[in-house]
């Protein structure tokens, strides 16, 4: 009895029709069931807007609400933790016909999702740069650099970092020149705030490489295409932004 009842409720709540549910008794129950449907739409739209405030600002509340309605029908929540709700939103926006006049929108959504992940990422103590100075060249050759879990990378054909910054509550909106073109971004949490930092292609390739290989291989990967790349400067950047949380040698789990 209970399983059938819950099945019928969930189906009705998530569909955008007036699908009746089974087993109600009261004379006012149909109108009252609508309260649940409205509350689900309002709560989940609000949660999505909490993760995507810039998108909501860019398209306006009514448009965002309409997009959220379609999104939630296609991607109903599958986690008790409501923070997981917007995971597919950027992919959805990319193919959401009514938004196609704003080609940068999906990338802004990608950026907001990464900022959301960075916001909730684990807290880790950063290492000081002098840890690196103490290493021999032989140790450097086998070094693995572990980066802060809040750090994420993304590339876009649009200056999404400028769009994001212009739409923060704490900043005055300045016009964004879309002609500024592509950006390679590093997103992380700096203290309690989200930080966005544009990187040049060499640095970007280097940081991306550090996430899946050791320091020597990462340098090699970058130098192949950017012979002028200065690994020392790139490492200095990572240390100075407090993004290096561990150093280890080769396959050994032993931390330096």
């Amino acid at each position: 009895m209970l399983a059938a009842l819950q099945h019928s409720w969930v189906a009705s709540l998530y569909r955008n029709g007036n699908l009746p549910v089974d087993g109600l008794r009261g004379s006012k129950d149909e109108a009252r069931f609508a309260i649940y449907r409205a509350s689900l739409a309002a709560n989940l739209t609000q949660a999505l807007a909490g993760t995507y405030p810039v998108i909501e600002k860019l398209v306006g509340e009514p448009f965002f609400g309409a997009a959220a309605k379609v999104y939630l029908r296609e991607h109903p929540s599958r986690h008790g933790d409501i923070h997981a709700l917007g995971e597919q939103f950027s992919a959805f926006i990319e193919h959401f016909e009514p938004a196609c006049a704003l080609p940068y929108l999906a990338d802004v959504a990608r950026l907001e999702w990464l900022a959301h992940l960075a916001f909730h990422a684990a807290d880790c103590d950063a290492l000081d740069l002098d840890r690196l100075a103490a290493l021999s060249e032989a140790q450097l050759a086998e070094l693995h650099v572990k980066l802060h879990p809040s750090l994420h990378l993304m590339q876009s054909s649009f200056p999404v970092h400028r769009i994001w910054q212009a739409n923060q509550e704490s900043t005055m909106a300045a016009p964004v020149d879309l002609g500024e073109g592509e950006v390679s971004l590093c997103i992380f949490r700096d203290g309690l705030e989200i930080a966005l930092m544009p990187l040049d292609t060499a640095d970007y390739t280097f940081v991306a490489a550090l996430q899946d290989t050791d320091l020597a291989a990462a340098c090699e990967r970058v130098l192949q295409y950017h012979p002028a790349f200065d690994p020392g400067q790139a490492l200095y950047f990572l240390f100075s932004q407090r993004l290096v949380i561990a150093l280890s040698m080769g396959d050994s789990p032993c931390m330096l």
Binding site: Q6, I35, G80, A118
Partner: protein, 289 residues
């Protein structure tokens, strides 16, 4: 079923507290107002780190804490979500809250989550189902759980007992504690036409470890009070709260406010009002003794 190895009852002071919301983080840190306890929605702290934990850790040092969940889906026919439960357990281990609670309702089915507190039909079958799940949760958490009576705007044809008989039977069969939401009792009493005091009097007083108070709205189209947690506590709910305290004695009391969140001072004013009722009751008891 193994016996729950419960920790000795940690208790909150029988005074008022408020729900901690991000909008008040900075204000709370700067002012640290006198409050008997803070309550947070457990799921809002399921992330590994960042600002939510920064503020909660900081404030936890100064206030007793209650973890209030909204997604255990105790009444669902889906299997219990063990990953979710383990996250809750890790949070409880990390913050050592005095109380851990969730709702006597369901929030998910067929793997889909509604993030809304949905009502259950009141039958023997449902009592056994929910009670068994509450026992499972208490076994995993290794501590007692409080379950909160929910609102329900509709009536199920399948129900064959009163809500108060249902709630009492569930908490007794599960051997768990009760978080009595006085506003929910009032909302259901008006919507479904019963006497709220009959409900209150049927509750097992010794299991009531916390009380919730909140504000409701009125939906004219559905002719229904709606539990929005977006308004001050209404006068008849204060009256029912006073009657409840007179019957069961003082209890830790939370002012819940989740939508249209007002300035911190508004919440502190509501909390002070609850304290006045608790104090007047203590005074009356002293005179009677």
């Amino acid at each position: 079923m193994t016996a729950v190895a419960c920790k000795p009852d940690a208790t909150l002071p029988a005074r008022s507290g408020i729900g901690l919301r991000p909008a008040h983080y900075r204000d709370m840190l700067a002012r640290r107002p006198p409050l008997a306890f803070l309550e947070v929605h457990s799921e809002n702290y399921f992330g590994a780190g960042g600002p939510p934990h920064h503020y909660l850790e900081n404030l936890r040092a100064d206030y007793p804490l209650s973890l209030h969940g909204v997604s255990l889906s105790l009444g669902s026919t889906d299997p219990l979500d063990h990953a979710h439960l383990l996250k809750l357990k890790a949070l409880a281990v990390r913050y050592q809250p005095e109380l851990v609670s969730d709702h006597l309702c369901w929030t998910s089915a067929d793997g889909l989550h509604t993030h809304d507190l949905l009502p259950l039909p009141f039958t023997e079958e449902v009592i056994r189902h929910v009670a068994a799940r509450i026992r499972q949760v208490q076994d995993v958490l290794e501590r007692r759980l409080l379950v909160e009576n929910a609102t329900g705007y509709v009536e199920f044809a399948a129900s064959n007992m009163s809500e108060w008989a249902f709630v009492r039977a569930v908490v007794e069969e599960a051997d768990c504690d009760l978080l009595l939401d006085v506003n929910n009792v009032y909302v259901n009493a008006i919507n479904l036409s019963f006497d709220p005091l009959t409900y209150i009097e049927a509750m097992p007083a010794e299991r009531i470890k916390e009380i919730h108070l909140a504000g409701f709205d009125y939906d004219e189209h559905a002719d229904c009070l709606v539990d929005t947690h977006g308004k001050p506590v209404r006068t008849p709910v204060w009256d029912l709260y006073r009657d409840t305290i007179a019957r069961i004695g003082p209890r830790p009391t939370l002012i819940e406010w989740d939508t249209d969140i007002p300035p911190l001072d508004t919440l502190l004013g509501e909390a002070a009002r609850a304290n006045m009722i608790l104090e007047a009751d203590s005074h009356a008891r002293r005179i009677a003794a």
